[in-house]
Subunit: 193 residues, 4 copies
Amino acid sequence: MNRRTAKESKESILEAAIEVFSEKGYSQTTIREVAERAGISVGGVYIYFKNKEEIYFTLLKYLLDEFRERSGGSIEGIEDPAEAVKKYIAINLNYAQKFKGLILIEGREHGFTSCIDIKKKFFRGQRKLIEEIIRKGVSSGRFERCNVEGTARVIIGTLRGFILSLVMDSDALFSQKECSNLILGGLLKRGVK
Amino acid sequence: MNRRTAKESKESILEAAIEVFSEKGYSQTTIREVAERAGISVGGVYIYFKNKEEIYFTLLKYLLDEFRERSGGSIEGIEDPAEAVKKYIAINLNYAQKFKGLILIEGREHGFTSCIDIKKKFFRGQRKLIEEIIRKGVSSGRFERCNVEGTARVIIGTLRGFILSLVMDSDALFSQKECSNLILGGLLKRGVK
Amino acid sequence: MNRRTAKESKESILEAAIEVFSEKGYSQTTIREVAERAGISVGGVYIYFKNKEEIYFTLLKYLLDEFRERSGGSIEGIEDPAEAVKKYIAINLNYAQKFKGLILIEGREHGFTSCIDIKKKFFRGQRKLIEEIIRKGVSSGRFERCNVEGTARVIIGTLRGFILSLVMDSDALFSQKECSNLILGGLLKRGVK
Amino acid sequence: MNRRTAKESKESILEAAIEVFSEKGYSQTTIREVAERAGISVGGVYIYFKNKEEIYFTLLKYLLDEFRERSGGSIEGIEDPAEAVKKYIAINLNYAQKFKGLILIEGREHGFTSCIDIKKKFFRGQRKLIEEIIRKGVSSGRFERCNVEGTARVIIGTLRGFILSLVMDSDALFSQKECSNLILGGLLKRGVK
DNA sequence: TATGAATGAGGCTTCATTCAT
DNA sequence: CATGAATGAAGCCTCATTCAT
């Protein structure tokens, strides 16, 4: 018997699940492996979660919520929109490095509507955050006038791409600095028409 | 019975496999379904391919090669580096829309070393392509001076992110134009220090 | 914590078990559900019963005993054997309606020797009861001369069939009256040789 | 590999399934055992049947159909309604002895609507058969005037009870003769009352 | 080559039973 | 006595792969 409390057990399962899902993806993750890493029996997992999907869903929800809070909080006080963008990028990349595969990769491998919904909501929220920054940047004159919504979408996409890169070629990363530079400055020469 | 030549059979399997892998991902794809869509028997598939992994590998190789050729060719003659970037982005997004899931998503779901290698090589090649464009842009004075390698990496990452977005929220796409605008122009106001 | 005495606990488990076994059959009944309906913990059940089989066995024994007493008692004073048969049929059908599935259905689903024995003994007892009635009927001239044992067996079988019908097609029941009529009067025309 | 044709395999599975379901009931029957007795692998069973339920359903349908045909056929030509009843009883008991548990017992252990429907239809059909015999017997003057539908219901129930007895106390059977006697003649003395 | 029945390992999930608290 | 987390065996089902034809 294990002396852990129910809460501890549940958490150890979730922690193990983060690891395994991140390493192997949803389909390749077996409950057995999650259980082993969590130091619990296979049946024990089912005390806390109805099924594999629920583990994934719980995890996803938890991580997205945490990220939402964290990213929202860090940016709040920043006046300079360029700084806010940099900060937002930094948080994203750091968080992603930590929970690699989990957050952004899986998405079509299993068609869980619940997951799709929660993700859409999350990305919509993030887009609103970026849009706010851009809008502030534009009205303060720091940013070029642009299609705010489209640009926000592009930035979100960009960051996802970064994270994907993190996952796939774990060696060949690019720096946050280059990333911020590109997004803020673009490729074209200043002053050139 | 069957009129198809060996080559035709093999190709029909690959075509079916593209479809199914794209729709369902690697794990969720069954040989049976591939065989059915290819109009061949289950056993027949194993005449042409050693196993599931080899189908995936062959497919990946084929698509990456084709893309490499196509993207290389389209850009070759373009003088204006900004145009070349736009063109490159357009090709990427079009191609991705066609073969969605296949190219970029799967990759960690199964740890096939062969696939990892081939992908790394591909992305390295693409990066070189971009680096070349950027370098040309910088030396011609059209682009800002910048860390060429880092920037290329970022652009590649960006495009992956776009493609990922295509796959995940198939509704909420952004336009190629916004994408090009951001990459070329950045957010910051022109002429501003 | 719990105010119940041991006896109360045990009884509440048995009551819950009657319900669940009747509703779902032996195999589909889970200890968890019995425990829940009894308002006790899973482990608590095992304080009072060695295992699932023992619960079933105890229950069966209890119900058969109760029925034996009840049916024996009701018939005892009745002089007219036809009335006694009617009464016996009525008691059977009423009791069955109450504990439907339990008594008669399960029985082969699990091969518990203990249960088989107890059932055989019960049915032997019931047969003796019927035989007694028939014998009395025959010697008093009310009943046709017949193979008493065989006829008793048939009647017992008949009643089981009724009860089975009760369980299976809970809508399409037949009346106690028709049942008594058939058993008492048969199909053939009176007076006809 | 097995040389059997698909049809042979499917049949051997069904034959094995009849055996095991009859012996153990639905819940206690494992696919593994059915497969073993059929001389096929576990996976092989699923080539021919979607799942356990489908095996059961197929079997049930087959047996009911066969029985329907057989019993209908045997009775058809018989003029004397009393003979027809005897014959019907004989067929029922013989058939039941052969396929014991399967046909009539299981029914609530699993709540497969498909099975419930098919059984109801079957029993309705059988009832019509009996009703026809009784009606003929009554109009020809051989049988007492009676509630035809109710009586048919009782007879069907009676037979089910017999079969149940067959299954449960496999030793203590009663004879077909006693059964026919009771149903035809009843207990009450001829000419009395 | 081509077929498709067959295999069997392995995944998910359930549940009777145990045991530390 | 009571709890309920934990165990682990066992069941159903899937599917990549093989092989007799």
